[in-house]
């Protein structure tokens, strides 16, 4: 069975599409899918502390912060990237050293760190994440929880080289 049955309509559409892309220069070679880099969110860097240590868990845990780290452009997963995480939790304010910790992305670009339950502060239950190493441009994210009763939160990084 042939998947393509050209008739007058498909032929005209294809010719038209080819003309539009060809003439207007919309055909960009070798960029089948382009993934834009993450932008630092407003307030994302608030109460950031440089150099938080990589830890197995922040405090007593019970809440999961997770996400992915990918490369801008082709979206390839980035392994071994250090992501710093902090928030106002049941164990401390954002500015407290004990509320800060870092983790590394795995071979699939996935990171996951257990931390104390995030509680609403400054009007919203939210977390902070930072990519602050040298290889790519720094990015600070500030995801907001849909419900303050949630026990997990996600944030995704798309990094562009410096």
């Amino acid at each position: 069975m042939s998947l393509i049955h050209p008739n007058r309509r498909t032929l005209l559409t294809a010719t038209g599409a080819a003309l539009v892309t060809g003439v207007s220069g919309l055909r960009v070679p070798a960029q089948a899918k382009t993934i834009a880099p993450s932008k630092t969110m407003r307030g994302g860097a608030n109460n950031y502390r440089a150099g938080a240590p990589v830890v197995d868990k922040i405090g007593g845990g019970g809440f999961w912060m997770s996400g992915t780290v990918r490369r801008a452009g082709d979206g390839a997963p980035l392994a071994g990237q250090r992501i710093q995480i902090w928030a106002h939790t049941t164990e401390g304010h954002e500015r407290d050293q004990r509320s800060h910790g870092a983790t590394l992305s795995d071979e699939n670009g996935v990171f996951r760190l257990e931390m104390p339950q995030i509680v609403p502060a400054f009007g919203q239950a939210h977390g902070h994440l930072a990519y602050d190493s040298a290889e790519f441009k720094k990015v600070f994210l500030r995801p907001v929880m849909k419900r303050s009763s949630d026990t997990s939160l996600e944030a995704h990084f798309v990094l562009e080289p410096v």
Binding site: R42, H93, V119, A121, G123, Q124, A125, R142
Partner: protein
């Protein structure tokens, strides 16, 4: 406005409940366990400022039973000064808790929309306080005064209500919504009365 004892009592009880219930509930919030005293005081100052806004319009038009217009205006000025102080304490307490968040709010670049409304209302309160203190010195005509003060009052109340409703974590939701509704309704009621006969509003 002369009212019977029972009516007077009922009105004061209703106002007391409208203000005390949200304050007491905010002081019993489970979130307080994870907040420093300074942060708790900052939140409470904000809630108290909101509570004052329920009395301000009623005092301004002499609508509170057993409180005459002149006494009402005098108390209105004192509460206005108190409102200004509560706002300063609110912002100062938040600043101590998280300086960068407060700086973002004051510069109107915060990620949270309630910050915008709060800061807008704050400037309207400060503007009112300044304008009120300059009123005698500059000999501002009562008509102008009423219009400017009414416009600022609308910004203060509208901004404060939007600010309070969008925040999660300081007040209990239902009592907060009810208090905001009361504040909004009394303000509109008072503004309507104040702007309808501006020539009689000399004080």
């Amino acid at each position: 406005m002369q009212a019977s004892h029972t009516k007077t009592l009922l009105i004061w009880i209703a106002l007391g409940i409208a203000v005390l219930v949200p304050i007491v509930l905010s002081l019993n919030s489970p979130l307080l366990a994870w907040r420093d005293p300074v942060y708790i005081a900052a939140g409470l100052s904000g809630a108290l400022a909101l509570a004052l806004l329920l009395f301000q319009p009623l005092l301004a038009i002499g609508a509170l039973p057993r409180v005459g217009l002149l006494t009402g205006r005098r108390v209105h000025r004192w509460l206005g000064a108190g409102l200004t102080i509560f706002i300063v304490l609110h912002v100062a307490g938040l600043w101590v808790t998280s300086p960068p968040d407060v700086i973002d709010a004051l510069l109107f670049r915060s990620p949270t929309s309630f910050s915008f409304w709060g800061v807008l209302a704050m400037w309207a309160v400060f503007g009112t306080a300044l304008f009120a203190s300059l009123r005698r010195i500059l000999r501002i005509r009562p008509r102008i005064w009423v219009r400017v003060h009414s416009a600022l009052a609308l910004v203060i109340v509208g901004g404060t209500i939007a600010h309070a409703l969008l925040i999660e974590g300081t007040m209990e939701t239902i009592s907060k919504v009810i208090l905001c509704a009361y504040v909004g309704v009394t303000t509109l009621f008072a503004l309507r009365k104040a702007l309808r006969k501006p020539q009689k509003r000399q004080n």
